[in-house]
Symmetry: C2
C-alpha cells in the first residue's frame, strides 16, 4: 500500500539559512533520526550548524547518500536561485531531492532534467501518494495511539515523537507514523493527510498504520483539531482511519482561541476528549484517552509542574509536558 517513502541516508541541505527557527525541519531530523543523517550541506560559513559532518555533493554521492533533504523553511515557499546549481548537481549525481515547499520541484526545468539524467526522484512531501483507497473501517491487528489537540500547532508531532522514544526506552515496540510534511521528513515515511483528496482521508489513515504485531504500537501524529473550523474534517478522517486504542490530547498553556481564527474560542480539553471518543467509537469501541500533553513553555518556570498537576487531577489523567517531564506517565497508563 502506498505511503511516501524517502531514500535514506540523508544529506541535510541548510543553504545559507542562519536563523535556527527557519532550519527546524533539519534540526528535527537530527534530533529524532540522527541515524538517517549522513551529513549537512551549507552554502555559507554563517549557515546553521546542525552538528553533522559537512559534505559536498560529491562526497555525499560517494558515501551512498540516498536523498538531499531541504531542511529549511522558506518565506514565500519557493527555492532561491542561488540553490539551484547545488540541487541540480545532487540530482545529476543520483540523489533524490526532498522538499516540503509550495513550489513543485518538478516545475524547475533544469532540476527536472538533472533528475532524469541522474535517475533521481524529485519528492514533494506535500504531494499525496496516488491510488489511496477509500476507508474500509475494518479492524486491524496491532495497537494504535493518536495525538489529537485543542488546536493546530501545539505539539502533536513532538508529543508523538517523544512517546515513540520513551516507549522504545521502556522496551515497547513502537513506531512514529507521520501524517504531515515535517513528520514525513523526520520519519522518512508517511502520508501528508491534509493534502489527500477528501474521499480518501480515512483510507489514507488506514494505509498509514497498517496491520502489525498484536503488541506493537503505532504512535500516529495528529492533525488539525476536531473543533477547528478549517481543519476538523481532516481530524475526523484521520481519527476514524487510525482507529486508535488510545489517544493523547495536546494543548498549549494559556491559549484561549484557535490560532489564526480569533473569533473561535478554543475548546476545553474535556470537550476534545468527549468528541474524540464519540467519533472514534465508530471504528474502535475501546478508544480511550490516556493522557494530556501540554506545551507549558509560556508559563513562569516555577508554575509549570503545578499547572500539570492541577490539570491531571481535574481530568483524572496523567498530564505531561514532553520537554519538561517526558511522557513516561502516559506510557504507564497504557
Amino acid at each position: 500500500m502506498p505511503t511516501l517513502t524517502l531514500r535514506t541516508p540523508f544529506l541535510i541541505f541548510v543553504g545559507d539559512e542562519s536563523r535556527v527557527t527557519y532550519a527546524k525541519t533539519g534540526r528535527g531530523i537530527v534530533d529524532w533520526r540522527r541515524d538517517h543523517c549522513a551529513g549537512q550541506l551549507r552554502l555559507s560559513a554563517g549557515a546553521c550548524d546542525l552538528g553533522l559532518p559537512d559534505m559536498t555533493v560529491a562526497e555525499a554521492a560517494g558515501a551512498g547518500v540516498g536523498s538531499l533533504v531541504i531542511g529549511t523553511a522558506l518565506v514565500g515557499g519557493s527555492i532561491p536561485p542561488a540553490w539551484i546549481a547545488t540541487l541540480t548537481e545532487a540530482a545529476r549525481a543520483g540523489l533524490d531531492i526532498v522538499a516540503g515547499l509550495h513550489t513543485r520541484l518538478a516545475g524547475i526545468p533544469e532540476l527536472a532534467a538533472a533528475a532524469a539524467e541522474g535517475g533521481a526522484k524529485l519528492v514533494d512531501v506535500r504531494t499525496a501518494p496516488a491510488d489511496l483507497p477509500v476507508g474500509s473501517g475494518r479492524k486491524r491487528t496491532g495497537m494504535r495511539l493518536l495525538t489529537v489537540g485543542t488546536d493546530c500547532a501545539l505539539g502533536k508531532k513532538y508529543t508523538a515523537l517523544q512517546l515513540e522514544r520513551d516507549m522504545r526506552a521502556a522496551g515497547l515496540s513502537a513506531d512514529f507514523r507521520a501524517s504531515g510534511q515535517t513528520g514525513i521528513m523526520i520519519a522518512g515515511e508517511g502520508v501528508p493527510i491534509d493534502c489527500v483528496v477528501a474521499d480518501f482521508i480515512s483510507g489514507a489513515a488506514e494505509v498509514l498504520s497498517p496491520e502489525n504485531a498484536p503488541n506493537h504500537w503505532d504512535v500516529i501524529e495528529g492533525q488539525g483539531g476536531i473543533f477547528h473550523p478549517g481543519y476538523a474534517a481532516v481530524t475526523h478522517g484521520l481519527l476514524i482511519g487510525s482507529q486508535p486504542d488510545a489517544f493523547v490530547v495536546c494543548h498549549a498553556a494559556g491559549r484561549t482561541e484557535i490560532e489564526g481564527w480569533p473569533h473561535v474560542p478554543l475548546p476545553s480539553i474535556g470537550d476534545v476528549i468527549e468528541r474524540t471518543v464519540q467519533i472514534g467509537r465508530l471504528t474502535n469501541p475501546a478508544i480511550r484517552c490516556v493522557g494530556i500533553s501540554v506545551n507549558t513553555s509560556t508559563l513562569p518556570e516555577g508554575e509549570r509542574r503545578e499547572y500539570l498537576a492541577r490539570l491531571g487531577k481535574r481530568y483524572g489523567l496523567p498530564a505531561v509536558d514532553p520537554l519538561l517531564t517526558g511522557t513516561a506517565a502516559i506510557i504507564d497508563n497504557l
Copy 2:
C-alpha cells in the same frame, strides 16, 4: 469566489445509450432544469429519448448552445471511441464539453486540440476549482438547509432538489446548491466536495453557499454520512462549512448496513440527528433537524404512508417521501 460554473443552454449528449438507468444524469437535468436544455444529441435511433428536440452539433452551435453535456454514466468511466468524432466537432464549434467521468477530457489529444481551436472549455465536474480557501467559520447572512443521511445513495440530492421546487412553489426564495458531480450538471454550478483537497473541505462548502439575502434559503446537497467509515470526513467538512440553520435526514426504508460496507451497521436516524447537531453547533448554534426524508420505494405500496407516519411520530418531525408526498410538510416546519 470559485465554484464550477457551466455555460448554458445545454445540448444533452446521449450517445448510443439505450438503458434509461445509464442516462439518468441527462434525465435529471431535464427533470430539474428543463430551461437549461436546448436539445439532445443521439448517435443511434435506439438511444434514450429524453423528450428534448434532437439536434446536430451544427444546429446546436447555430442555436447558441453553450455546452455539450455528457448525460450518460459509463461502465469503466472512459469515453467510447465512437463518440470522439462528435465531441471533437462540438468542441471545434465552440461548445464547452462537460463530463463527470474518471477519464479526463483534456487527456484525449484530438479533443484538446479541437477545444483549443474552437475556444471551448473541457470541463471535468470531478475536478475541484482552484484557489479554494480554508474554512473561516464566520457566520454568513441568509438561511441554509443541508440534507444529510444515514448512508450514501439514498436521496440527499433528490430531496434537496424537491425541497427547492416546493419552496419556490410556496413563494420562498430558494436555490439548490450542488456538492456532487450529477448535482453540478443539474444545477449548472457547484463544487464537487469529495474531490477537494482535505484542508479545504469546509472552505469549499463556505464558497458553495455564499452570503445571501436574510430570507433566502440555500438548499445544500449533502454527501456521504457522518457515521460512514469512508466518507464521514467529507460530511463533517460540508456540515461545518454549510453552517445550516436546518437539516433534513435522508434514509432508505429497510436499509440496515452501510451500502458496500456490509460489516458496518447503519446508524439510526436518531443517532444521525444527535451527531449532526453536535458537530454543526460549531458554526451555527441554532442548527436543528426539520424533517426526515425516506425513499420508501422498497416497501409494499400500502405500507409506505403508514411507515412515514410511524417514523414522524417517533421522532416528532415531519417524515416525507419526496416522490410520494412531496416535501411541503418539511417546509411548513421551517
